[in-house]
């Protein structure tokens, strides 16, 4: 909010610190000053008033009060003495009726007659402009000026344009209409508070004045309104009609109901000074529940304990007094503090401690380590497995990505997710973020699209949450690799799981359950389920060309998708030390000719099944198709590593086992081991 330095100066006899210096004082003790800039012969301070301090500080007076405490200067607080004209009575000009005292806890009005509407004086126009307001005429300008000065919004009506000299404060009727001062039309609803005359709405309460009783050059009788409206009522209406004004913004933050009278007297006096006229006798004041100051007990030891700095009792009391609080001593270390009604933000001891701390200066608080027993934290296994898995993939050449937790409607169509399985965002920032992601794959594929022109080889993984209807979330680990790399992807999973200490890995053909449509993403013949012991933990395969086309990815891509929660559970259970064999291992190679559709995993599984524990490991080192091979066949070549845990295997034993494996493989008539 913008404040004029000269205007603030006018509250003090003493010269204020220079603008920059003043800004620093305010920043350190009250509110951050975002900017200080020169404006004609003035400076503008852009002050970020904290939302809880709105009630007392959205005004020059409020900032002047802060400055008075910080600089130790007394500020000039005038009491405005009005000269009422005993010949005319306010109640003869206007009759106020408030129908809801919760929505409007106070309504004050004054009447000034025989005014001369015209321009406001230069000094007032300059101050309004410095604060970003446009001067209109002397009556409206006074209302605005006093709002900026005191924080109390005011409104001026032309008294002769109010039907039957009535002002009624009530909730609108559904569908009632109003044209505001800026000639906008609004349709009102029944939870919006309005000011009406005998017939029609003349203002949207606390938000904007209406056109009909507008002050114009012919106006003779001014009816001034200074009221207190319920913050929630104003916020709701302002949001509903999408109209925020200087007034609504102040009412939304709450205002001290005791302020209306001070402000209306100030404005009345200014109008008389500037526009002449007579002040009708009597303040019209609807104020059924007067607000009195709160009292808060404060234990002075608690001040020290919470802030961690010793501030003398004398200083504590001086600080509170300088802020307008009144002190009563109860016991030696306990005081009772009376809080002025304009400090809507102060109601508990901690609020007072904040006042003491900030005025004394938070910079004075020493950095002091707590004295407490150190208890080592429990090991967080989730983080352990995440870091370990991420590390393994990074060692394998992967880059980790963090993608948005959302997918778009277009993505939904491409990946053929049904709306029923997705969590839809009610009020998305943009159409790109319409659904919570049901898989990490869509965004990972987009990563490929973004990068494949610049990088020959792409390997990216992400570890993150996915979401499904109704309200379920799950952590998954997914990765994508560019190129003709189905087997490398498989190898990556082998590597990952082995390093995580899982040995019983199976790749199984995918048999869709009725109603499943996974194959819309995957290439039917080049995909597999990943299983540990017989439990399915994920999926891998080539991404279908149709999907890649839709995403404009012009290269082949393989991907994997692992339920990380399942994996880390199985891993935790399985992570067991296998003693390192003291006995040597031996390697034998095997090459086998199989029909093209046979999966590597089928061959591997056969080898492991036959060799049992003595086959320590099997590595696929070559796949060959075409050329001199018979049509429809492919050649697979493996290293088989033999090792026993309790003895050195003889070469006879190894050869025997190798033979056994060969005959097991050849039981399948279409498989042919090449010697």
């Amino acid at each position: 909010m913008n404040f004029s330095y000269n205007w603030l100066q006018s509250f003090f006899k003493k010269k204020l610190p220079k603008p920059e210096k003043l800004a620093e004082l305010l920043t350190m003790h009250s509110f951050e000053v975002a900017e200080v800039k020169k404006f004609n012969r003035d400076w503008i301070l852009d002050i970020d008033i904290l939302p809880n301090r709105g009630p007392d500080s959205f005004s020059c007076l409020g900032i002047a009060r802060e400055i008075s405490t910080l600089a130790g200067f007394k500020y000039i607080a005038d009491k405005y003495e009005l000269k009422e004209d005993k010949g005319i009575k306010a109640r003869d000009f206007i009759n106020v009726e408030v129908r809801d005292k919760t929505a409007c806890s106070r309504y004050t009005a004054r009447v000034i007659t025989e005014v001369k509407v015209g321009f406001s004086p230069k000094w007032m126009r300059e101050r309004l402009e410095a604060c970003g307001l446009k001067p209109i005429n002397n009556i409206v300008d006074v209302a605005n000026y006093v709002m900026l000065e005191t924080g109390q919004p005011l409104h001026a009506f032309d008294g002769e344009k109010l039907q039957d000299r009535k002002i009624i404060v009530r909730f609108a009727k559904e569908g009632e209409k109003i044209i505001t001062l800026d000639e906008e039309r609004y349709r009102l609803e029944k939870e919006m508070l309005v000011i009406t005359d005998a017939k029609k709405p003349v203002a949207i309460a606390g938000i904007k004045g209406g056109k009909p009783p507008e002050i114009d050059l012919k106006t003779k009788i001014v009816v001034l309104e200074s009221a207190n409206f319920n913050p929630r009522v104003i916020r709701r209406a302002s949001k509903r009609i999408d109209l925020k004004t200087d007034a609504s913004w102040r009412f939304e933050h709450g205002i001290d109901p005791n302020l209306t009278e001070f402000a209306i007297n100030r404005a009345t006096l200014l109008i008389q000074e500037i526009a002449g006229g007579r002040i009708a006798q009597g303040l019209i004041d609807f104020y059924p529940g007067k607000v009195f100051p709160k009292r808060v007990k404060l234990d002075l030891d608690y001040v020290t304990s919470l802030l961690g700095i010793k501030i003398s009792h004398q200083e504590i009391i001086a600080i509170l007094k300088s802020l307008g609080f009144k002190i009563k001593h109860l016991k030696s270390k306990i005081i009772e503090v009376e809080v002025p009604t304009f400090r809507l933000d102060v109601s508990i001891p901690e609020d007072l401690i904040e006042e003491i701390g900030r005025i004394h200066g938070y910079q004075e608080i020493p950095a002091q380590f707590p004295v407490a027993a150190l208890i080592p934290p429990k090991r967080n296994l989730d983080i352990f497995w995440e870091n370990l898995s991420g590390g393994i993939l990074k060692e394998a050449g992967f880059t980790e990505a963090y993608n948005y937790s959302f997918i778009s409607e277009k993505d939904r169509e491409i990946f053929r997710y049904s709306k029923r399985e997705l969590m839809e965002v009610e009020n998305p920032t943009s159409l790109d973020f319409q659904y919570l992601r049901p898989s990490l794959i869509p965004n990972l594929l987009k990563n490929i699209e973004k990068n494949f022109r610049d990088f020959a080889e792409i390997k990216i993984f992400e570890l993150g949450k996915i979401f499904h209807h109704p309200k379920t979330e799950k952590k998954v680990l997914s990765g994508v690799m560019s190129g003709e790399v189905f087997y490398e992807t498989k190898g990556t999973i082998d590597l990952l799981l082995n390093k995580l200490g899982v040995s019983n890995i199976w790749f199984d053909e995918y048999r869709p359950k009725p109603g499943e449509n996974k194959l819309s993403i995957w290439q039917p013949k080049k995909c597999a389920e990943i299983k540990i012991n017989h439990e399915k933990i994920g999926f891998l395969g080539e991404i279908s060309p149709k999907i890649l086309d839709s995403l404009k990815v012009a290269i082949k891509v393989s991907a994997f998708d692992i339920d990380f929660e399942k994996l880390s559970k199985l891993t935790s259970e399985e992570h067991e030390y296998r003693p390192i064999s003291r006995f040597p291992s031996a390697v034998r190679d095997i090459a086998i000719l199989v029909p093209r559709e046979v999966k590597v995993a089928q061959v591997l599984n056969k080898i492991y099944d036959t060799g049992k524990k003595l086959v320590r490991d099997v590595d696929l080192f070559d796949i060959y198709e075409g050329g001199e091979l018979p049509a429809g066949k492919k050649n697979l070549a493996f290293h088989i590593i033999y090792q026993a845990e309790d003895r050195t295997m003889t070469s006879e034993e190894i050869d025997g086992l190798q033979k056994k494996i060969i005959s097991a493989l050849e039981k399948n008539r279409t498989w042919q081991v090449r010697q």
Partner: protein, 161 residues
Amino acid sequence: MEKNNPPLRIIVPGRVFRREATDASHEINFYHLEGLMIDKDISAANFKAIIQDFYREFFGKPLKIRFIPSFFPFVEPGFQVDISCLNCQGRGCSACQQSGWLEMMGAGMVHPNVLKNSGLNPKFWQGFAFGMGIERLVMMKYKINDIRLFYGGDLRFLKQF
């Protein structure tokens, strides 16, 4: 806090979401790190020591810290925590808009209502809470000028880490 008894020392990192227009310093999802310490006699001075140590370790250089008044409904008093500008050591430069300070996070002493709602008696327990954006920390450490790079999936960016 509801499930455990004090003393409590908690840090919680996690992905958070905001509905706002994105630009170089605003994102719709990012990571936040929230922390909390509750004990019999934990003060703002304790928080200052801990957080100052954290920043010195994280950035690997000596720096100063300051609290300025701020407001968050779940703490009282509330602070904004600033560190002396890493770029100019507090002399004032374009990175800190000539102020010499960088805004790092919001913090404060846990509001008694928060303690009450967690089943703790504010007469016996007190402490501090804080929350900071992780991307912001990383941006400062590596001089990254656009938060959107974190979620853009651009390998030219990602491969540097």
